[in-house]
Symmetry: none
């Protein structure tokens, strides 16, 4: 079995049986990273457990000591990344209190910078590509990440509206989506079109996009 009886259940409230067994050391993380790389490069189906193992520096069978199946590995991977992103959302939300429009500018700047981090975008791309086959995973991702991010953004926009910084007739939802759109576009396209060397300054380009957008949102004198 994959789940050993906990070694010392004498008094301790038996740990609520972790979904995937963890070791003290870094193995699971290494595996997850390797899996992310392979899944992103080849797609979930085409990625081979053997390659993941090799990339993680262990044997194929060893993966199964930590994750009961390929699908479980995918789930673990997404959940792991979700945690990371979720935290960033929090930070983001806090920043908005004072000056919403400024906050949005900051977020935009930050986002523009982050685009160079390939791995950050790997997960959403992965989610998109598996959404057909594993809708529950996509659903999970949506509720845990996308909806939260959108919620934070919409709160920010609403704040902007009530402070008079953003025109009142702007539809909040639409604005939030318009904000995320360019980001996603750049994210996906950057990867899909790896070869396109023409795109010589992606960050500046994104920044421009947000400028246009915010310009459209702003209250006019």
């Amino acid at each position: 079995m994959h789940y050993m009886a906990s070694p010392k259940p004498t008094k301790a409230r038996p740990r609520p049986a972790p979904k995937w067994r963890r070791r003290a050391d870094a193995r699971p993380e290494e595996i997850v990273e390797a899996a992310l790389a392979e899944f992103t490069a080849r797609g979930f189906e085409a990625a081979r457990m053997e390659d993941i193992a090799k990339a993680a520096g262990i044997s194929k069978a060893a993966i199964y000591l930590y994750f009961p199946s390929k699908l479980a590995l995918l789930e673990a991977l997404i959940e792991a990344k979700v945690g990371t992103l979720a935290q960033q959302m929090q930070t983001l939300a806090l920043a908005g209190h004072a000056d919403p429009l400024m906050a949005m500018r900051m977020i935009a700047t930050m986002a523009a910078h982050r685009l160079s981090d390939v791995n950050l975008l790997a997960v959403p791309r992965l989610v998109i590509s598996i959404s057909g086959r594993f809708p529950e995973i996509a659903e999970y991702y949506r509720t845990h990440i996308v909806d939260k991010a959108r919620g934070a953004l919409e709160a920010l926009i609403d704040a902007g509206k009530s402070k008079g910084a953003i025109r009142a007739e702007i539809d909040t939802k639409a604005a939030a989506r318009a904000f995320i759109g360019p980001l996603l576009f750049e994210a996906l396209w950057t990867h899909v079109l790896k070869g396109e060397t023409a795109l010589n300054d992606p960050q500046k380009l994104i920044q421009h996009q947000f400028d246009i957008l915010l310009n459209g949102l702003e209250q006019r004198a």
Copy 2:
């Protein structure tokens, strides 16, 4: 047609109504449609030729009469759709001459409407999900579709700038991308988040997004 009525059916015994008419000509298209459906639903790797065949109403082996391999089917499928889209690009480009800003509004409206056509969006989604494994295909798609669309759009924006309808300091490339972004976002998300019943009026939402965007682009009095 392949089957002429028998030249002299003396008594016209009505041909025993063939269970299935053969339509060699229509076959490839039917197969491509079935493949698109399966590829989109399950992903390229997970889609089974047998299922595609079943969906097309033929036997597995029959597919190979028209396409030499699964990959070839994928390529044919993308190329077929590329043609369709490419033409729409042309139309679109012509429309822009007179009033660029108006043209962009029209395009936005059209695009918003088209979003309900699930199949239209299936192809880009598919391209994204296979881009890791078959970069050449993604490349093909980029050069034949995306770049053309972007070119047309940028031409439109430039026209708008030179006519004074769009502010001169706007970066053309950025504007074009900002225009495509929301579309892509909605496209992907609509599918990925199939379950989201909350999105009760996507077209209106998109329309709103474009309103914001165009507002940001427009020359202010």
Copy 3:
């Protein structure tokens, strides 16, 4: 196994004799033998990997742990046998120095005996039957085996001529071929005509053939 035998079997219950010992080292050889049998019996194309596996006592997939493809298995098989034969050639060549005619008689005797070893002849037969489809393999076999054997034989005959044991006007090449011919004939026919029970003493028959031949070669008093 996942469940260890209890660590201290007080009475030393002898391990329940594993049904099958694993012998990773012996495997390839076993597979090659099985393959030879199947290829010979049914021909390369008609032989099924599954049957080879069964004959080797393993699963179909296990073959692929040792040989990447059916063709590779064929190649390995031939190369393995080539090695064996090549060594015998060496021995044979050395024996000839002293008394060539005697050496040839010995070889003939040896060959006649070897004919009963079905497997020895299986390989050339196999090579012949695949030569149409895989000429490179036949070529490989020719250069590594046939040509060497012929070379050794021709050297022997030449030695015989220079020693006056064989008539000088004899064509060396022709003699060598005349020597090999009956052998090959018997080899192939023995198999093809498996059913022929009439052939009640093949060894003696071959011996006779060589007698005739050598008689034709010998210097007459």
Copy 4:
């Protein structure tokens, strides 16, 4: 069905349903020739009906108008060639009456010349390669061709012995085989070792071989 009821069986003793349906024209022969070429080139299993059809200039389905199956085609092919060879055997047998040794020399010469006719040798090669899978066919070939040829040859040798042209202690069977061996060897090797350009005068070589052999058989003064 493949065998139509005979069109007018009114009184005529119904022809004993020919094994394979024949047309008045040359179709079946063309098909057989094409099949021989393909079978020889690729082996029976690997040869594709489609290729045979193409080589015969007809459609795949058309073959089935003449031969009910691939195996039947093989059988027909062999039977057709058997007929040809059988006749030559007869001729050969008659020639021997007068001067057996001379007859054998003639046969040898003839055989040496025939070796250039690739197709003549294709059939025995084919028989060898399929003998594992279809022993009955090999059996058929043996009884109808090989045994007859051997019989004729042995009769010839016996005649030679009784006339004092051939040494009495020679084993007839062995001598016959020694006669056929080189022929077969050259036949097979010529094909297997297609590339060998070194063999610059095969006919002369064979002739030499027979010289040696006959020399060994001949009665010494």
